[in-house]
C-alpha cells in the first residue's frame, strides 16, 4: 500500500543553511498493518509523516501510495481521493481546526468529499466521541483533550483507509489515550503512529520503524524484538542509564522510560 525507496530530505536552519533530516529511508507497509515510528526528538519522524501525507516532498528517492508515485505534480491529479483515503493527525490539534463550530469542523470533510446525510453522520460520530453537547461551540474554546477528540472525529468521519498520527499521546491525558488505543483497535485501518513514549508504543502497533538521531532507518521489524535489543535501543538513544535505588541498593542499568 505504502512504499518508500531511498528517501532523503533536507531542511533549512535559521540562517538558511541546508541540513539533512532524512537519509536513505526505505520500507513498505501493507494494508491493515499497524506501524509505530520511533526515534528521539529531531530524528525526522514528523517530516517522514508529512512526506507520507503528501505535504512535503522528498529531495531524493521515491514514495508511492497504492502503486501511484506521489510527487507534487502527480498528487494534483489525485488530490481528492488521496486526501480522503489518507488522513493525518498532526502533533498540535490546533493546526487542524479552522471552522466556526465543532459541527462545521466535523462536517467539513464530509462536504469536501461529497458525502450524503452529512447531518446524521456528524451527529452519530459526535455521539460516539462524546462531543454532542459541543456541536455549536467553536472548537478552540475546548480543552486540549476535547480538541484532540474533535480533530479525530473530523478525520475519521470520512472513513479513511490510512491514518497517520504524530505523537498522539503528547496532548492527551492517560484516560483519553486509553480511549484512543481502544478506538484504533476496533477500527482495523492502516495506522502509522510516531511516538517516543515507549510504554505506549506496543499498544499502538506490532511493527516498529526506528529512526536514529543521524536521520537513518536503523530498524524495521517486530516491536517487542526491538525492545529486547539493548544495543539497538542504545543506538536509537531511546534508553538511558541513571542511578537509582532498588531495596536500598543503588545501581544503574538501562531503562525504557516515557519522556512525555
Amino acid at each position: 500500500m505504502i512504499k518508500v525507496e531511498h528517501l532523503a530530505f533536507d531542511y533549512k536552519d535559521f540562517k538558511g543553511r541546508e541540513k539533512p533530516l532524512l537519509e536513505d529511508i526505505s520500507f513498505t507497509i501493507e494494508e491493515g498493518e499497524r506501524v509505530v515510528l520511533l526515534g528521539v526528538n529531531g530524528s525526522g519522524k514528523s517530516t517522514l509523516l508529512k512526506i507520507l501525507d503528501g505535504l512535503l516532498f522528498a529531495k531524493e528517492g521515491a514514495y508511492s501510495y497504492k502503486e501511484q508515485l506521489i510527487s507534487k505534480k502527480s498528487l494534483k491529479k489525485i488530490t481528492k481521493t488521496f486526501r480522503k483515503e489518507l488522513v493525518f493527525l498532526m502533533q498540535d490539534p490546533n493546526t487542524l481546526l479552522f471552522n466556526a463550530t465543532v459541527y462545521d469542523e466535523i462536517a467539513f470533510g464530509l462536504i469536501e468529499f461529497g458525502f450524503e446525510n452529512v447531518k446524521e453522520r456528524v451527529e452519530a460520530i459526535a455521539q460516539c466521541f462524546g462531543l454532542s453537547e459541543y456541536l455549536e461551540t467553536p472548537p478552540f474554546y475546548l480543552s486540549g483533550g476535547e480538541k484532540q477528540r474533535v480533530v479525530l472525529a473530523a478525520l475519521l468521519v470520512i472513513e479513511p483507509e490510512v491514518i497517520l498520527m504524530d505523537e498522539p499521546s503528547a496532548n492527551l491525558d492517560p484516560l483519553t489515550t486509553g480511549w484512543l488505543i481502544d478506538l484504533l483497535n476496533e477500527m482495523h485501518i492502516t495506522t502509522i503512529v510516531s511516538t517516543h513514549n515507549l510504554s505506549l508504543a506496543t499498544e499502538f502497533g506490532n511493527r516498529a520503524l526506528i529512526l536514529s538521531d543521524t536521520h537513518r532507518l536503523i530498524y524495521d521489524g517486530d516491536i517487542t524484538t526491538a525492545f529486547e535489543d539493548i544495543e539497538l535501543m542504545k543506538q536509537a538513544k531511546l534508553i538511558h542509564k541513571h542511578k537509582h535505588k532498588h531495596a536500598n541498593e543503588t545501581h544503574s542499568h538501562y531503562h525504557l522510560h516515557d519522556w512525555c
Binding site: 533549512k12 536552519d13 535559521f14 540562517k15 538558511g16 479552522f98
Partner: protein, 216 residues
Amino acid sequence: MHIPDGFISPITYVPAIVVAGSLLFVASKRIAFDDERLPFLASLSALSFVLMMIAIPLPGGTSAHLSGIALLAILFGPWSAFSAASLVLIVEALFFGEGGVSTLGINILAIAFMESFLGYYIFKLFEKKRETLGLFLAPLVAVVSAAAFIALILGLQSLIVSSSGEQLFFPFSISSTLPAIIVPHLFIGVAEGLITVVIYRYLKKNFGVIFEKEER
C-alpha cells in the same frame, strides 16, 4: 491606545468604518488573501498581538505598551502588517471586549493602517544610506502620528454639540488632546525606536532566513 464606545459621534465613526473597510478590502486583493495565505495572516496577527502585549516597565510600577507594527511592516511588508494588526484589533473588540465596536474603524485606521504604512515607508526612505536611523525613526514617527490622529479625532468631538450648545461626546478640545496624548507617545515612540533597532539587528544576525524571502 484603543478608544471605547460612546465617546465618538456616529458622524465620525461611520465614515471611519467605511474607509477602514475599504482599505481592508484593498488589502485582501493586494496581498492575495487566497486560502493559502490565511494561515500566514493568522499567525502574523498572533505575533502582532504578542508584540502589542509587551510592556516597557517604567519606574514606579507603571508600564507602557509597545505596538511593534512598524517592525512587522519592515519585516513582512505594509499590507501584511496592516491586515494582521487589523485582525488583532477586530479580535480584541469582538472577543476580548477591549476597544469599542463602533470605534473599530478609527482604531484600525490609526493603529493598523498609519503605523504599518508610515513605519514601512520611512524605513524604506533611509534603508540604503542610514539603516539604523530608519529603524529608529520608523516606529517613532508611526506611533506619534497614530497618537496625533487619535487626538485629533477625540478633539473634534468637542465641536459636535446639541442645538442648545451642550456637549455630547468627548469633551476636550484639540488644543488639550494633542499635547496630552502626543507627549507620552513621544517617549513610547523613542523607546520603541530603540527596541526596534536592537531587535532588527538581532534577528538579522540570528534569523537570516526570513530576510531572504521576497516582499510579501
